[in-house]
Symmetry: C2
Amino acid sequence: MIRLNAFDMACVGHIQHGMWTHPRDQSTHYHRLDHWLDLARLLERGLFDGLFLADVLGIYDVLGGSADAAIRNGVQVPLLDPMLVVPGMAAVTTHLGFGVTANLSYEAPYLFARRMSTLDHLTNGRIGWNIVTGYLDSAARAMGLDRQQQHDDRYDLADEYMEVVTRLWRESWDDTAVRADRATGIYADPAQVRRIHHNGPQYRLDAHHLVAPSPQRVPVLYQAGASARGIRFAAQHAECVFLNGGPPDAVRAQITALREAAAPRRIMAFVGATPVMGRTEAEARDKLEDYRRHASVEGALAHAAASLGIDFEPFGMDEPITAQSNAIQSNVTAMARASGGVLTKRGLIDQFILGSRQKPITGSVDQVAETLISFAAATGADGFNLSRTVAPECWREAVEWLVPALQERGAYKTAYAPGTYREKLFS
Amino acid sequence: MIRLNAFDMACVGHIQHGMWTHPRDQSTHYHRLDHWLDLARLLERGLFDGLFLADVLGIYDVLGGSADAAIRNGVQVPLLDPMLVVPGMAAVTTHLGFGVTANLSYEAPYLFARRMSTLDHLTNGRIGWNIVTGYLDSAARAMGLDRQQQHDDRYDLADEYMEVVTRLWRESWDDTAVRADRATGIYADPAQVRRIHHNGPQYRLDAHHLVAPSPQRVPVLYQAGASARGIRFAAQHAECVFLNGGPPDAVRAQITALREAAAPRRIMAFVGATPVMGRTEAEARDKLEDYRRHASVEGALAHAAASLGIDFEPFGMDEPITAQSNAIQSNVTAMARASGGVLTKRGLIDQFILGSRQKPITGSVDQVAETLISFAAATGADGFNLSRTVAPECWREAVEWLVPALQERGAYKTAYAPGTYREKLFS
């Protein structure tokens, strides 16, 4: 059974930059609550497992040393807080899960634990957390620091953070602590509620968790790190991982490595995918061409430069791009590999514009359904994170065309499983 | 025209402790989203100006040096994050304002500014912020500190915080920065978006605000400080103040002092009130007696001890309570005054159990309406923050009985004014 998440972000341009200029696109409504309510209702109609919301703190100011290109093209800025987008959608759905990206580096564990527990209560157990540590110096400067911590140090901090928040979620309130006994007037039994003490190199805390046990206690934990240290972190903490995609062999190797590292703990793999569908293959190709005419080269470069930590403004289109000291090495390696070994500006533009980074799966609905099924079989992937092209039509087509085609092939559920997000995912 | 806010909190026991044991009370549903959706719909039906959500970080562990009494009686613990309760309610209402309490001491200005801007977008300009700096050492320990900052230092920090967040809200994006021009592909004009630099004694920041201008840009600013320093802060920053109530003369003096300090800036005053109504006066008195039978003395003491910063467990019922060094002086003074000059445990219990702290206004609907009207006239108050007794009946009676009675007397609007929360309040 293939699982589907919609992969979106509370901004104009998420991954496929420039699509907002398409006459049918409504991404500029990202700041309106009804935009999200409509999306949530639609995804639940399509039995999507979850809506996965990306987030980034800071701004993409690596290209040319300025944020101008990102601002001009709406590249992940302006950007709302994704946590606050969830409760409205929870109000109009019953089963859809919500995977929220949150950067732990700048959030006190005590307050963050309360936020997640609150969301788990309000969604009735439908919350997930995509654990990120950030990668932008612009975020550090926004927090009063000169620069961010080094890559591996961020993961050490994240390990300690996970220990603190997990203890707040799991150990502070016993399952039977809340009695709500009107006759005796005892709301909760103090003997079953305790302070968590933590005194580590990065965090200190001595406190009761503010929230009584929520349906899941711990949100479903997502992670997307691709470095060796990131994979080690995922193997230790994550229940689901998100992979950017690529050739089946490479994805299969990544998934296998993760599963081996996590064993015997089960880990679920979602792979990024961008379907561009038509009722016929020709219609799909025309649609891709139409979409690509709206793509923004400048937006793609602004995003790519920040993702790689390399200002490649000085490089010619086909000049090999040499990594700089503060480059994000796992992304550089992945993108060079996807470009045939050598990283060039032309190759990056190609990857970022409806290209190989989230390679569009272009074809008739039946072709796309079969491609996803065979990709999952070949790689061991559990499902896909579908990214946004021209919205809302990309979501409508996924729900109205792709899901029935997968169902016809026995590869997609016909009803939600009962229970929490975690129970649904792992049922 | 009298303005009404519902004063509530995402917990079992807010101010009137023990009411959750009443057979008709549903406060134990505080963690369910539909509980809040129902409340928001009801309040909007009653043309309430706002729902004002209290919050506190930390736990009430002053009484007997332990949190046991607070936990046992559900005294503001467990407690959800009030910000996350808002977007669901925004999805089912159009006009109701939301005043959210948030403690600035432990939130990075950069992240907090994004949260408030997000809420202002999602509510379409209906967000307010009750600015607090916290008063519990238990919150400081939860944040890895040994104790909180001193009272006046917290206000100095708050002044600087307000400067930073206000600059993010007002100065980072020009009104015309967002162009969303599909023809040219320009989403926003970089020349109209700028980094905010701040380098102060408490905060450093060098960042673009992440969110484009929201309908109000700055949330409606509420404040409730009663100390001299608190009043100075309110006079400088607040648009609305919240007063606990008390004899009309004292309230009038407070409001006058605030208005003089804030002049020529207009400042709006909401006074706490707890109506207990019946169709007749006798029915109201019976209802008050019924409610009081469910009141929790232990819960009231746990709350009072934390509010005053005094552990009065060692004191006899009628023994004068002497203030301790870390007492919250403005509260001690106010409560001693309300007890006739001398603070005793018996006096505190009386104040905290449907007593003079939020003195119940008990009577027939007409009597209560007239009391509110004459109180507002005598004090210059602009409206009332109605606190919760047995819910939801207290809210239903306010909407179905009190509002029509005020309307009959020409003292309450018959429709919402157009515009944002601020525009509605100050129209």
